[in-house]
């Protein structure tokens, strides 16, 4: 009797799926969902069912209508699997034409199977199953359903109904079902509704839904999409991952768990290395100079090679092994550096950070293993906290560059996890200062001497010149500057390494035909060394303006004029002041020379959406000023 009832129930359910096709006519899509959209998610139902600490079932049913070939990418299915996500997924799908009539079916056997090793990695165990629908007429709808089992409960799928630009959502639903006693924390961002919870004696369920959400457009200088898109993240209080059990409810406990389960007992070193480190630092007076010596030893010895297998995605390779191989990934190299510092009795913290030029903070109130993509090392010297990037062979001791600057990180300290902030490099510190002399002859040729210094987060701007031979350096130098016909060049590039490093580029060269003679006049471009770009206008700017990182550029160029010409016209001085930046051009002249000074400061921060048009105008005015010329006339 019970069996029959179940059978009937399942028939009802599948009957529903079969009928659903009539709903996929493209003409049923509300007009507001089609604005700037190349695809519309018709329905997207996800269920995450935590059955036990080692079994989580992720069920997906999705239908998406694609309007043109720009939308094809959203119809493609990519399902990743690793040691902790099963390869078996039972995919079933149907493709419908614009009227919602089925045209073809697909299943597991249509999937390709490829490795999914990220760029720059030697080996990882992650793989991907892919399906790309091939439909030549638009619009079409693809509907599919699959189920994937996870054998861990640490990394759970999260809800992000709108994932990217150009895709709107008609209906999305996310359900989290957990066994009784499974406790977790949630982070809801920009969720307008209220989640609906229900529980029975067998499970607890929470459901989030979204309806008729229009697509968004990417806008320059916008805050991170996480600040305006809806998302729900889940993190367990207690979990099991690749045979490692654990629990944490906050960052403090998280740090303790990382220390105990991932880092403990991995800093042992061979006795020879211990001996040579001891000797290396024996004559040095203080901890900081010792740490610097050790860091440079590590940089010189090792190189970055990424290998991620199973728990190895979170756990560093043993210091002993790194010592033997002289390579490792960020975790391994940080752990190795920490081990070397231990030998000299110097304390350091393993720190988890979200790296990248766009600054991202650790979510203070939401401890999760899903935060971060990089590891750096913190040396908590009294009043002089020092930070180390351990994967670069060149970066100076104590300098973090724009890869990990100015953001909060999770430091794994002896008393657990702690939120710390990496150094901030202010717009006035991020400097590029250039001084140049252009000696112009009567034919318009220029003999140039130029010196440029780079500091703060601009320190690495011309790093490409590093360790090149003179010939190669000249080639690269020509790519950096707009100036044409650079010949007989002598270039040098030096770095003054410190926690506030400076790189200096000096150049001497001749630029043939720098100025142009026409109609008895000699036209001399004033700025072919650092000219600005312009940015698109936006008719309807929706997001506030966010400038991620500020900087200062100063270019002082002196033009020595040929004796047989006199100045006919000069551009005017210019000053623009805006909340987000300042620009000025100052021109000084005497009989024989003209000095052009250009200064640009961009200030980071949040500005209202209306500031965007001012920013467009700002760049436009700069661009025009950068194009200005000095006009000389024959005496």
């Amino acid at each position: 009797m019970i069996r029959k009832f179940l059978l009937l129930l399942s028939m009802i359910v599948s009957g529903e799926i079969a009928n659903a096709q009539t709903n996929y006519a493209a003409s049923d899509i509300p007009k507001n969902l089609m604005i700037r959209s190349n695809a519309v998610i018709r329905t997207h139902n996800e269920t995450v069912e935590v059955k036990s600490y080692t079994q989580v079932i992720y069920h997906v049913k999705k239908a998406i209508t694609v309007f043109n070939n720009n939308g094809d990418v959203h119809a493609a299915i990519d399902i990743y699997y690793t040691r902790n996500r099963e390869a078996r997924i039972n995919l079933k799908g149907v493709i419908y034409n614009e009227f919602g009539m089925p045209v073809s079916k697909f299943s597991d056997k249509n999937l390709t199977d490829e490795s999914a090793i990220s760029d720059g990695s030697l080996y990882e165990d992650s793989r991907v199953k892919r399906f790309k629908p091939a439909i030549a007429s638009y619009p079409y709808t693809i509907e599919y359903e699959y189920e994937q089992t996870f054998n861990q409960s640490l990394l759970l799928p999260y809800w992000k109904p709108i994932e990217t630009t150009g895709v709107s959502v008609q209906s999305a639903r996310f359900e989290l079902k957990t066994f009784p006693g499974f406790s977790y924390r949630l982070k809801e961002l920009n969720y307008a509704g209220k989640a609906i919870s229900d529980s029975t004696k067998d499970f607890k369920s929470t459901v989030w839904t979204m309806h008729d959400a229009p697509s968004y457009r990417s806008e320059l200088y916008s805050p991170h999409p996480e600040t305006f898109l809806t998302s729900v993240r889940i993190t367990p209080d207690k979990f099991s991952y690749q045979g490692v059990d654990g629990s944490f409810a906050n960052w403090k406990e998280f740090g303790t768990w990382v220390n105990e389960k991932l880092l403990k007992g991995r800093t042992e070193l061979p006795p020879e290395t211990i001996a040579s480190i001891k000797e290396l630092v024996s004559q040095l007076p203080d901890e900081k100079s010792k740490a610097k010596k050790i860091y440079e030893y590590m940089q010189q010895k090792s190189r970055y090679i990424s290998v991620q297998i199973g728990i190895g995605g979170f756990q560093p390779a043993k210091a002993f092994e790194v010592d033997k191989l002289s390579y490792g990934d960020c975790k391994a190299l940080v752990n190795y550096t920490q081990a070397l510092l231990n030998v000299a009795g110097i304390k350091s913290y393993y720190c988890i950070v979200q790296a990248g030029s766009f600054k991202r903070n650790a979510p203070a109130d939401f401890a999760t293993m899903q935060f971060g993509n990089h590891i750096i090392l913190c040396l908590p010297f009294e009043r002089d906290t020092t930070w180390l990037e351990c994967t670069s062979k060149d970066i100076p001791f104590g300098f973090l560059s724009d890869f990990t600057d100015d953001r909060t990180v999770i430091a794994c300290t002896e008393s657990g996890g702690k939120i710390m902030h990496t150094p901030y490099y202010s717009p006035l510190k991020n400097k590029q200062i250039r001084k140049a002399n252009f000696r112009i002859d009567s034919l318009g040729n220029a003999d140039v001497t130029m010196e440029t210094s780079f500091s703060g987060t601009q320190y690495e701007n011309h790093d490409a010149l590093l360790r090149l031979t003179q010939t190669e350096m000249i080639k690269k130098f020509r790519e950096f500057y707009e100036i044409n016909n650079i010949e007989s060049a002598k270039i040098s590039f030096t770095q003054n390494k410190s926690a506030n490093p400076t790189a200096v580029e000096t150049a001497e060269f001749t630029a043939y035909n720098y100025g142009v003679i026409n109609g008895g006049r000699l036209y001399i471009p004033l700025n072919e060394v650092n000219s600005s770009r312009t940015i698109n206008e936006l008719r309807n700017r929706t997001f506030p303006v966010y400038i991620n990182r500020g900087y200062t550029d100063v270019d002082e160029l002196t033009f020595k004029l040929p004796g047989d010409y006199k100045i006919e016209s000069l551009p005017e001085n210019k000053v623009i002041k805006q909340p987000f930046g300042e620009f000025s051009v100052t021109i000084k002249k005497d009989e024989k020379s003209v000095t052009y000074t250009r200064s640009l400061i961009l200030k980071e921060g949040n500005y209202p959406a209306e500031a965007y048009q001012q920013l467009v105008d700002f760049y436009q005015e700069i661009k025009e000023a950068d194009n200005s010329k000095l006009v000389l006339i024959k005496r």
């Binding site: 700037r36 959209s37 309007f67 043109n68 070939n69 720009n70 073809s104 390709t112 199977d113 490829e114 490795s115 090793i117 030697l122 080996y123 793989r127 790309k132 091939a134 439909i135 030549a136 007429s137 150009g166 040579s276 010189q300 010895k301 190189r303 090679i305 290998v307 033997k324 191989l325 002289s326 390579y327 062979k393 360790r467 090149l468 031979t469 010939t471 190669e472 080639k475 020509r478 790519e479 707009e482 044409n484 650079i486 010949e487 035909n513 100025g515 142009v516 026409n518 109609g519 008895g520 006049r521 036209y523 698109n536 206008e537 008719r539 016209s569 105008d617 436009q620 010329k629 006009v631």
Partner: protein, 655 residues
């Protein structure tokens, strides 16, 4: 055959046994002390020695055995990537695949103690990445790299693919002091070998090896042992605007021509075009597909029945096939799954799509042939003898009213007769079911052609208002359509265009012919330019504001390889500007007329003035697809002069 053997035997009299692999692990202190490579002091690393040998084994199934051994001096960490090794191996299925054995590696370096140290590669640290159904990658990172160290590694590959005898790359992006390859080829196998690149072989020896091949069953054969050596191989330096580096890097490539089987029967594999023609026509994935005309007959009826002539029929078939397929981004001159199946699933590789096109055109009664070609990235074709594996693409050649049209149905935006730029690569081989094959030039049938017409008025308030028409033809029309189709609608394209030019407002816009592929795209705009905040006593106007050349794309003093521009281009600009009566022109850029030798290109400008108007006209044409390296200085100078010209302004003064 006998003659050759005799020749080889004679050679043996003069040559000592040579072509030996160097000893493994024989790094010397002298090599470790090397601070730079004297022939190329800019090199971050140099291959000290590289040795490879390939032979056909007498073992079961007679696999090809390739042994590789290299020793690389690494001067500094910029070249550490040469310590990260990837060995790609191919597999057809579970029974037929390449096997890698005996991977060995050792890093030798000077310790702080000044003594020589070694670190062996741990076999457990060799990873196998199962990339996709056809490729596995064996990957390893050499341990303990330090500035000045030497890495050495060797491995053996056993391969069932004897048709393509192992190729050898003499040239890398770092220099090599010596690169030697020894091929042991049993007399029962006959290969065509071709040397690519401009380097000369330092040594090329052949000698006879008696009865080296004995696969059993009484079969015994002698081998030719052929050694190829190049010493002092320079680093390969990539230049901008060049086609595939494969064309220029020195390498040796083989294709099996014929072989003798166990029974003593000779099998031709590739010999001359006559054989190839025959084989391709019989090939299940090529000729057989071309014969499937009947399949398309009923499908085409609706599209072609009302077409008045052959050309419109052909165009109708072409759009039908374009509509019916979505290209899966894979190249190939063979059909992957058969065109019926491909047609039903609406997707396929180039072979599936264009063989369908050929069959469909033929079924509509249009004289159509197949053209095998190699794409630009794939390199140039060896035309001395047929090397089928060099080809990676096929297109249709339809002959209508004495005129031939090259057609590729993989891209819906291509107009009739326009090949994608990737196909414009030297020559292709034309194959038909009833004639002998022949070569055909793969040149651009049209130019990248654009015309700008501007009719503008400068007003007293400093604004410029007027009409702008942009006409795009040939490849330019294709590019334009592609740019427009990146947006979901024409409105979104126009909005973006307007937003891209903050100073210019598009007051009225109209785009014509976006979907009429056989005619040019025409854009009409009524524009307003915020040119000046007000008109001063004196101001300047730069007439070159449409599409200026800001930087010379050619920065090198000289060039080793041809400049490959893709397709010829031509642009014409005409600007008519009226200005307020209170002003006069006091200076204007001189007219220029520049030309490249042999009609290679032109840049012509002229400015004429009237009472209160001026007319600027410009013609810029690059007429060739490829400029040889001796034409390079002229090309570079042409761009230089264009930039010069565009730097000067028209100067207005109040009367």
């Amino acid at each position: 055959m006998k003659k050759i053997s005799l020749f080889i035997a004679l050679l043996c009299l003069f040559k000592a046994a040579d072509g030996q692999d160097f000893a493994y692990g024989s790094t010397t202190l002298q090599e470790l002390d090397m601070k730079s490579y004297s022939r190329d002091t800019s090199a971050n690393a140099v291959v000290l020695k590289e040795f490879g040998t390939a032979r056909i084994s007498s073992d079961d199934k007679c696999p090809l055995i390739f042994d590789y051994h290299v020793k690389i001096k690494i001067f500094n960490s910029k070249a550490f990537e040469y310590g990260d090794v990837v060995i790609p191996v191919y597999k057809s299925n579970n029974d037929r695949y390449e096997l890698v054995r005996e991977i060995k590696g050792v890093t030798t370096y000077l310790g702080k103690d000044g003594a020589m140290h070694t670190s062996e590669l741990d076999p457990k640290k060799v990873f196998r990445e199962n990339k996709n159904i056809h490729w596995d990658l064996l990957k390893f990172a050499m341990p303990n790299l330090t500035d000045g160290c030497i890495v050495e590694y060797s491995y053996e590959i056993e391969s069932p693919y004897v048709f393509n005898f192992r190729k050898w790359d003499f040239q890398w992006n770092i220099p090599k002091m010596s690169s030697e390859y020894v091929a042991h080829i049993p007399a029962v196998y006959n290969y065509n070998a071709s040397l690519k690149g401009y380097l000369k072989l330092t040594k090329n020896d052949a000698e006879l090896e008696k009865e080296c091949f004995a696969p059993g069953g009484g079969v015994k054969a002698d081998c030719s042992k052929i050694s190829y050596l190049i010493t002092d191989v320079p680093a390969f330096v990539e230049e901008d605007y060049m086609t595939s580096s494969v064309n220029f890097k020195s390498s040796i490539n083989y294709e099996l021509s014929d072989y003798v089987d166990y029974m003593g029967a000779k099998h031709k594999v590739t010999k001359d075009w006559k054989d190839v023609d025959y084989e391709l026509k019989q090939d299940e994935n090529f000729g057989s597909q071309l014969k499937k005309k009947d399949f398309f007959k009923p499908l085409l009826t609706a599209s072609i029945q009302n077409q008045p002539d052959e050309l419109s029929k052909a165009k109708a078939v072409y759009s039908f096939i374009k509509r019916s397929f979505k290209w899966n981004n894979r190249f190939g001159c063979y059909s992957e799954n058969g065109i019926k199946k491909a047609f039903e699933s609406h997707t396929g590789n180039i072979g599936d799509i264009n063989l369908s096109l050929i069959a469909a055109l033929s079924s509509a009664g249009i004289n159509t042939e197949a053209v095998l070609l190699s794409t630009r990235d794939n390199g140039l074709i060896n035309r001395l003898f047929p090397v089928i594996s060099d080809f990676n693409y096929v297109v249709a050649k339809a002959t209508i009213g004495g005129k031939s049209y090259m057609l590729d149905a993989s891209d819906p935006l291509l107009s009739f007769g326009l090949l994608p730029v990737r196909c414009i690569n030297d020559q292709g081989r034309v194959l038909s079911l009833d004639k002998a094959s022949y070569w055909v030039d793969l040149t651009a049938s049209q130019k990248e052609n654009k015309i700008y017409n501007l009719n503008l008025e400068l007003k007293n308030n400093g604004k410029i208002e007027g009409d702008m028409t942009i006409m795009s033809f040939g490849y330019e029309a294709y590019n334009k359509r592609k740019a427009i189709k990146k947006f979901n609608s024409e409105e979104e394209y126009l909005e973006d265009l307007d937003e891209k030019m903050p100073k210019i407002k598009l007051l009225k816009s109209e785009i014509k012919n976006v979907d009429s592929l056989d005619i040019g795209v025409v854009e009409n705009y009524h524009i307003e330019i915020d040119a000046y905040s007000s008109l001063n006593q004196q101001f300047s106007f730069n007439p070159f504001f449409m599409d200026p050349v800001k930087e010379n794309p050619f920065k090198l003093k000289e060039r080793n390889y041809p400049v490959d521009w893709g397709v010829p281009s031509e642009s014409k600009i005409s600007i008519n500007l009226t200005f307020p009566k209170e002003y006069e022109i006091v200076s204007k850029p001189a007219d220029v007329g520049l030309a490249l030798p042999e009609g290679g290109g032109r840049f012509i400008t002229s400015i004429t003035t009237d009472q209160n108007s001026l007319n600027y006209s410009e013609l810029f044409a690059l007429n060739k697809s490829v400029y040889m390296s001796d034409e390079y200085p002229f090309l570079k100078e042409l761009f230089n002069r264009i930039i010069q010209t565009q730097k000067s302004d028209i100067i207005f003064k109040k009367k």
